[in-house]
């Protein structure tokens, strides 16, 4: 067993971790559970399923891009009328692109990543028994689940799913006559997103409250693990930006279904004629959308950065370099993310002066991002690095974050964006920095906290193999795309063979598709490893990675309330690895040292809330109350 090299204290827990008798029924334990650990697992599994679907879609449309002249009979048996004769329908291509984007951005990287690990780690790493409102937490998951179902159901409507891109810009998305997907498909898309926003807000309110209110003794804000800081700021971003998307979505719903003209004006549609709408502005939607859209990028990325900070520090056996600087840069990124949305719209004909302002603030974001990168490098320097699968993915994240982040400097520059906007360069940029990097953060989290979630270890060999294949395929897929974009290849094209100039990229398209399929196959290793290990993996020890943070002090078996006894007190920061004054190379937060100051904030004493006066029947009180009010009766 490969983990044995690291596990110096294997604790005598055996297969009976789940054998305890609980009073809960199957439904309260596994379905409508209010336990944050179970909800986190539900988020994770749903996220993985959605991730497979999203990735599957990308593999299908990559086939079309690589071999536009081939037919794939299996597509017809899979998609029916949308791939007659094994050739993907252009409308369906658009639909796949759209739903792939939606799933990856919202369902996998927002809910699957931040939902899973916020739920798992906020209570455990803060030292809380559960979330502030476990019930709301459960609602949050079920809204998310419902939203996923609604989104996927759009594949079964006659006109197909939403297909105007994951940004669903009106007027295209508002007019069902403009493209078939803008009919029922987009209605379902909008419903799904409204449900998703409700879920995100319920979750976010919970996360913020828990972090601020329910930390254990000694866990001051400057002793919080960076994961929690990242989740906390992510939740704040979500709380402030999702309502704006809700507003944008509502106005779009009104335009689509009630004949208003918020986004529509001066339109003459083929086969319909001049529409009556006048006075609307399609660009307004873009402003509202990107006011969410840009913070959303950081909603996706920041949890991944938080996870990688924790994983890198633990496995490099070094304190994270510049803990305070890391927090300040997270704060800076969060703040700036709200005032940069216009860089998605440089060429919409917006006021050039506004463009300049947006360019300034956008490029400033590169500074905190650079600080984070350098701090990661400094953490690795002279470390004692254990290449657990989680660590591999965290290092991969840093590499992808650098590669993708640097191209952001091009795109944030208004002048360069004139040419690069909506080209393959953009596709390469955001897939590296926000797609792949965040997915790598998610994998790092899964490999690192799998023992916490399921009490068993995942296979390390398969993990490493999974990492290397995914890493190589990520670079093979996205690196050449930069050059395609720079050569003037536009994104969201169904095929390039109609434009002779793009012919030279046909073999690159083939390479990308083959690499993408390789990446897809690599995920099968993960899926196998994940589900096999849930049931048959070797039983983990309580602190398999010899980590400092509180979640490893709870013992293996999951109980509602996390700690059987009192919640441990915290004595120091989360990253005290390899302290020179200690023999062991880690020093858990909950272990009392010599002469360390004991930060303390006491729990509020629970007051007796019963009423001192006499008890009466409610109806009597209600009616006599009016008499009291008009001073007819004295209490």
């Amino acid at each position: 067993m490969s983990t044995a090299t690291i596990d110096s204290h294997a604790v005598g827990h055996h297969g009976d971790a789940h054998g305890h008798h609980h009073k809960e029924t199957f439904i309260t334990k596994y379905i409508f559970s209010t336990d944050h650990k179970m909800i986190s697992k539900q988020y994770l599994i749903t996220g993985i399923i959605m991730g497979c679907l999203g990735m599957g879609m990308s593999l299908l449309f990559r086939l079309q891009l690589a071999w536009p002249d081939e037919t794939f009979p299996f597509l017809e048996s899979l998609l029916g009328k949308w791939a007659k004769g094994g050739k993907l329908d252009p409308n369906y291509y658009m639909a796949l692109v759209t739903i792939h984007g939606t799933i990856m951005v919202f369902y996998v990287l927002t809910a699957g990543l931040s939902g899973t690990f916020s739920n798992l780690l906020i209570p455990l790493q803060c030292g809380a028994r559960d979330m502030a409102s476990p019930f709301m937490n459960m609602l949050s998951y079920w809204f998310f689940f419902l939203s996923s179902v609604v989104l996927m159901s759009s594949f079964f409507v006659e006109t197909g799913p939403a297909s105007s891109g994951w940004t669903v810009y009106p007027p295209l998305s508002a007019l069902s006559k403009a493209m078939p997907g803008s009919g029922v498909g987009t209605t379902l898309w909008l419903m799904a997103i409204v449900l998703f926003i409700v879920s995100a807000l319920l979750g976010g309110i919970n996360y913020i409250t828990t972090v601020l209110n329910m930390r254990t003794k000694g866990m001051s804000m400057n002793r919080l693990p960076l994961t929690i800081w990242a989740f906390f700021l992510t939740a704040v971003l979500g709380l402030l930006s999702f309502p704006v998307l809700l507003g944008a979505g509502l106005l779009l719903i009104f335009d689509r279904s009630f004949g208003t003209s918020f986004y529509l004006s001066d339109i003459h549609l083929n086969g319909v004629g001049a529409l009556t709408n006048s006075g609307g502005s399609p660009v307004l939607y873009q402003h509202l959308f990107w006011f969410l859209g840009h913070p959303e990028v950081y909603i996706i990325l920041m949890p991944a950065l938080g996870i990688s900070s924790e994983v890198i520090s633990t496995n490099a056996r070094k304190p994270i370099f510049g803990y305070t600087a890391m927090i300040i840069s997270l704060l800076g990124i969060s703040f700036l993310s709200f005032i940069v949305w216009g860089h998605h719209m440089f060429i919409t004909g917006m006021n050039p002066f506004l463009g300049t302002m947006f360019m300034y603030v956008t490029l400033i974001i590169a500074v905190p991002s650079a600080v984070k990168t350098f701090n990661y490098l400094a953490t690795l320097w002279k470390g004692n690095i254990r290449f657990t699968p989680a660590m591999l993915f965290a290092i991969g994240l840093v590499s992808l974050f650098i590669s993708g982040g640097l191209t952001g400097i091009y795109l944030g520059n208004a002048a360069l964006d004139i040419q690069l906007h909506d080209s393959y360069f953009v596709v390469a940029h955001f897939h590296l920095v926000m797609g792949s990097a965040s997915i790598f953060g998610m994998f790092a989290g899964i490999y690192h906290w799998f023992p916490k979630m399921y009490g068993r270890m995942m296979n390390k060999t398969l993990g490493s193999l999974h990492f290397w294949l995914t890493f190589i395929s990520a670079y093979l897929v996205f690196f050449p795309m930069h050059f395609m974009g720079l050569a003037g290849v536009p994104r969201r094209y169904y095929q390039f063979s109609l434009i002779p100039e793009f012919g030279i990229w046909m073999d690159v398209n083939v390479l990308i598709t083959v690499a993408a399929w390789l990446g897809g196959v690599a995920q099968l290793l993960f899926i196998y490893n994940f589900f096999y290990s849930i049931f048959k993996g070797p039983v983990a020890s309580t602190n398999p990675w010899e980590s400092n943070t509180l979640e490893w002090s709870t013992g293996l078996k999951h109980i509602h309330g996390n700690w059987e006894g009192d919640i441990p007190t915290v004595y120091r920061g989360p990253h005290e690895y390899s302290r020179p004054d200690r023999e062991l190379d880690y020093f858990p937060q909950y272990e009392k040292g010599n002469g360390e100051p004991e930060h303390y904030h006491g729990p509020v004493t629970v007051a007796d809330t019963s009423y001192d006066g006499k008890k009466e029947k409610a109806s009597t009180v209600f009616f006599s109350s009016f008499a009291h009010l008009f001073a007819l009766k004295r209490a």
């Binding site: 030292g127 028994r129 209110n213 059987e564 919640i567 729990p603 109806s619 209600f622 109350s625």
Partner: protein
């Protein structure tokens, strides 16, 4: 062995009230989004001569008065609870609730007045978006009011069971905060719609 006393936990402040504040922040963002969308449309519309100006119907101003008075009653109810004058609380809350319902009715009358003025939610008048926006903004506010009314009903039931008193102010505090928020939002919106047109 697996039974943990969940009530014994760390808590710096009352989390329920805090969550309501977070909700208030989130829904403020929604109203900010709508009003800035309105603002952008207006400045574009006036430039292109495509912006319909109209006087807000008087019913909206009546609603404003109602909302102010209901907020006063809400505050009185809270003060009574705080000073343990528990027998006054249910009636004051009921008055708040009735005024809340009156507010809804007044809003609906305002919509009727708008329709009589020929200003429809869905219209194809040049610059008719101003009317659509009035409907959307006040409509979303009305949805929030419905939520507030639900809270008030629960509060009345609790108060009648003598569960709202000096030592147990959490729920009425939430009601008060939320209800005042709705009042303030409405006053902001009506002034915004009055001055920006």
């Amino acid at each position: 062995m697996t039974q943990v006393n969940m009530s014994k936990r760390n808590s710096l402040f009352n989390e329920k009230t805090f969550m309501v504040w977070l909700f208030i922040i989130a829904s403020s963002m929604l109203f900010i989004a709508f009003s800035s969308a309105y603002w952008v449309h207006m400045s574009d519309g006036i430039k292109n001569n495509a912006w319909q100006q109209f006087d807000l119907p008087i019913q909206f101003w009546i609603s404003t008065a109602i909302v102010v008075v209901s907020s006063l009653f809400m505050q009185m109810a809270y003060n009574s609870a705080k000073s343990d004058d528990v027998y006054k609380v249910p009636s004051l809350l009921t008055l708040t609730l009735l005024l809340g319902i009156a507010f809804c009715i007044s809003q609906i009358m305002a919509y009727k007045a708008l329709i009589n003025m020929g200003l429809f939610f869905s219209n194809s008048t040049a610059g008719g978006i101003s009317a659509s926006f009035v409907y959307v903004i006040s409509g979303v506010h009305l949805l929030h009011i419905l939520g507030g009314l639900t809270l008030l009903i629960v509060a009345i039931v609790k108060a009648s069971r003598l569960e709202v008193h000096k030592k147990n102010l959490v729920f009425i505090n939430i009601c008060k905060t939320y209800w005042h928020f709705l009042g303030i939002v409405w006053i902001f919106l009506i002034l915004f719609l009055y001055f920006a047109r």
